[in-house]
Symmetry: C2
Subunit: 208 residues, 2 copies
DNA sequence: ACAAAAATTAAACAATCGTTTAATTTAAAC
DNA sequence: GTTTAAATTAAACGATTGTTTAATTTTTGT
C-alpha cells in the first residue's frame, strides 16, 4: 500500500474523516460524503473499491509515522522524567492533531461488527508499550521511579484522560468557558497535557 | 417517565443494550433486536414508539439512581483519602456493571447526529463534580491534599482510564491472559481499580 | 360465555443504503 | 488530429432500513 493519493482522493479522505467522526461510520452514507466533497457517488467505489476500504485507506493514510518517534525517544539525552514528559507530549499532541480519526478508531475498534485488519494496531500498541517499558525500567534503575509499576496501565491513563475529556467536550467547553476552537485547542496543549504529566509523574515517583 | 416495564419490554431493552454496545446504534437494525429477542419487529414500535425512543428508554432505565450515592458519601465518617478511594470504587464499579450502556453513551454522546436530551447528563456530571470538589476541599483544609488542584480534570482520568482499558479489551485480554469473562471482570475490580486509586492518590498528595 | 382491550403477527410501505453499469466527457499519448 | 486511457456522470440495481397497516390471537374484565 502506497500513499499515492491524488487531490480528489485526498479531498474524499478528508471529508470522510470529518463525517465519520461526526456521525460514525454506519451513520455516514457515501452519498453524504459525495455531496460534501462535490463528487459523484461512484467515485468512491472507483477510487477506493468500497466504503470499508475507504476507511482502511484513511487509517493507513493517518497512522504511518506513528512508531518511529517513540523509538527514537529512548536514545535521546534526557532524564527518565524528561522522557516521560516528552512521551506524553508526543502522545497527546498526536491524538489531538488527529482527533477525528482517533474518535473513529475509538469506536470502530470496540465494535465487533467490522472485521478489519486491526492486527496492525495491536502490533503498534505492543511496540509503543515496549518503548514505554524501557523508559520506566531505566528510571527504576536510576532510583527515580518506584518499583512494582504496572506499565501496561499507564497508556490507558494517559490516553484515556484525553479521550474522556474530548468525548465530553461540550461539557468542558462550558465549564472552562472555551468558546472557540483555538481556546479549546490551547487548553488541551497546556492544562490537559500538564495535568496528565503531573498525574503520571506523581504515580511513578510517589511511594504508597 | 416511569419504570413500569413488563417482562417483554425488559427483554427488548436488554437485547438492545447488548447489540447497541456491540455494533453501535446505527449498526444495529430493529430486525436484529427482534430476532435476538424472539419478538416481532413491530413490537418495538408498539412498545417504545421508535428506535430512537428505545434508546432513550434504555438510558433512563439504567441511569436513575446515579447521583444519590455520591452525595451521601461526603457525610460518611471517613478520611478524605478513604472517601476518594470509595468514590473511585463507586465510579468504576458502576461503569463496569453497565459497561454496555456506557459504551453506547460514550459514542452517541460524541456523535452530532443524534440530538437527544443530554441536558440530564450534563446536570448529573455537574452534581458529581460538586460532590468531588467538596471532598477535595476538605482534604486540602486538613492538609492531606496539596493546593492548586484542577478538580474537573480528575473524572477524565478516573473514568478515561477505565474506558480506554475497556475499549481496548482484546489487546489487554491478550496481554494479561484474561481468557474468561470472570478473569476480565476480576482484573478490573482489583488491578484497574487499584491502579486508578494509586494514580489519583499520588496526584492529590505529591507536591511537584 | 361474551365483549373489550391488549398483544402479536405477516405483509407492505416508502426511503435509503452500498454498489454496479453503461454512456459520456476529459486528458494524455503518439 | 486521431487514438487510447482515465475521469466523471446519471441511472438503475437489489438489499436493507425504520415504520405502519390491517388482520389475528391472546388476555382481561364482567
Amino acid at each position: 500500500m502506497t500513499t499515492e493519493f491524488n487531490e480528489k482522493q485526498l479531498e474524499i479522505l478528508q471529508v470522510a474523516e470529518e463525517l465519520f467522526a461526526e456521525k460514525g461510520f454506519d451513520g455516514t452514507s457515501i452519498r453524504d460524503i459525495a455531496k460534501k466533497a462535490n463528487i459523484n457517488i461512484a467515485m468512491i467505489s472507483y477510487y477506493f473499491g468500497s466504503k470499508e476500504k475507504l476507511l482502511e485507506s484513511l487509517i493507513i493514510f493517518r497512522t504511518s509515522d506513528l512508531r518511529l518517534q517513540l523509538e527514537n525517544l529512548f536514545s535521546e539525552d534526557l532524564s527518565p522524567i524528561q522522557k516521560i514528559e516528552k512521551l506524553i507530549e508526543l502522545y497527546i499532541n498526536r491524538l489531538n492533531k488527529n482527533r477525528c480519526l482517533y474518535q473513529i478508531l475509538h469506536f470502530e475498534f470496540s465494535s465487533k461488527k467490522r472485521i478489519m485488519d486491526f492486527k496492525v494496531f495491536t502490533d503498534v500498541k505492543k511496540q509503543n508499550l515496549l518503548s514505554l517499558q524501557k523508559i520506566i525500567a531505566e528510571g527504576q534503575e536510576k532510583g527515580v521511579f518506584r518499583k512494582n509499576i504496572n506499565t501496561a496501565l499507564l497508556p490507558p491513563t494517559i490516553m484515556g484522560t484525553f479521550f474522556h475529556f474530548h468525548t465530553n467536550r461540550p461539557f468542558y467547553e462550558e465549564l472552562f468557558n472555551l468558546k472557540t476552537e483555538e481556546a479549546y485547542d490551547h487548553f488541551i496543549k497546556t492544562e490537559v497535557i500538564s495535568h496528565i504529566k503531573q498525574t503520571i509523574k506523581a504515580f511513578l515517583v510517589y511511594e504508597n
